[in-house]
Symmetry: C2
Subunit: 117 residues, 2 copies
């Protein structure tokens, strides 16, 4: 009898910021939870859209020509190739979905290692 993945329980197992934890797989994508705080880096993913769902807290996704402000239960997809910078106001908990192997900064050299939670 498989257990479901409880997102809050997974988030309670770690404290690191901007360090995604893989909680499931879906059609070749990693389904991840991440804790953010403060500014992430400007980046873009040339080959994938970037899925953000805020589970807790408040996140601004800065774009070169504006920004998107998200609170709990808000979802936004940044289209592929669009430069953006996530900025968390206090601690924020996110559900992210990316093709398996996608570097979170858009660049292998600076990407966080994704760990299976």
């Amino acid at each position: 009898m498989p257990d479901p993945v409880n997102l809050a329980a997974k988030l309670a197992t770690f404290g690191q910021r901007w360090s995604p934890r893989i909680v499931s797989r879906f059609n070749g994508h990693d389904v991840m939870v991440v804790k953010g705080e403060g500014e992430f880096v400007w980046h873009a993913h040339p080959d994938t859209d970037d899925f953000f769902l805020v589970l807790q807290g408040h996140l601004t996704i800065q774009l070169r020509d504006g920004e998107v402000r998200l609170g709990p239960g808000d979802l936004h997809v940044v289209p592929r190739g669009v430069e953006h910078r996530p900025v968390a106001h206090g601690e924020v908990h996110l559900l992210l979905i990316e093709p398996a192997g996608t570097p979170n900064t858009g660049d292998e050299a600076t990407a966080a290692v994704k760990v299976v939670a």
Copy 2:
């Protein structure tokens, strides 16, 4: 300045059960919210995993050899080809992700039309 998609606000715009509303697109997939109540049909998707995230309420995903019980904040991915039947206990609100054009019953003849919310 794009607005994020608030899932609860989208869910508040309709009452139909098992009638998915598309709220965003992601890498060729439809991102949808749906309200469920009672039993859905047994089905399988031969070519896609089936992503369920419970936003509100309680859902059992019956499998031929067991079941997965989900509450708020619980996520489960049914692998492609695996027969399953979602059963909602009272009203349940879900986030679903499927490749664009996937029939929700696994069968074009019986599938609900997906509407953009």
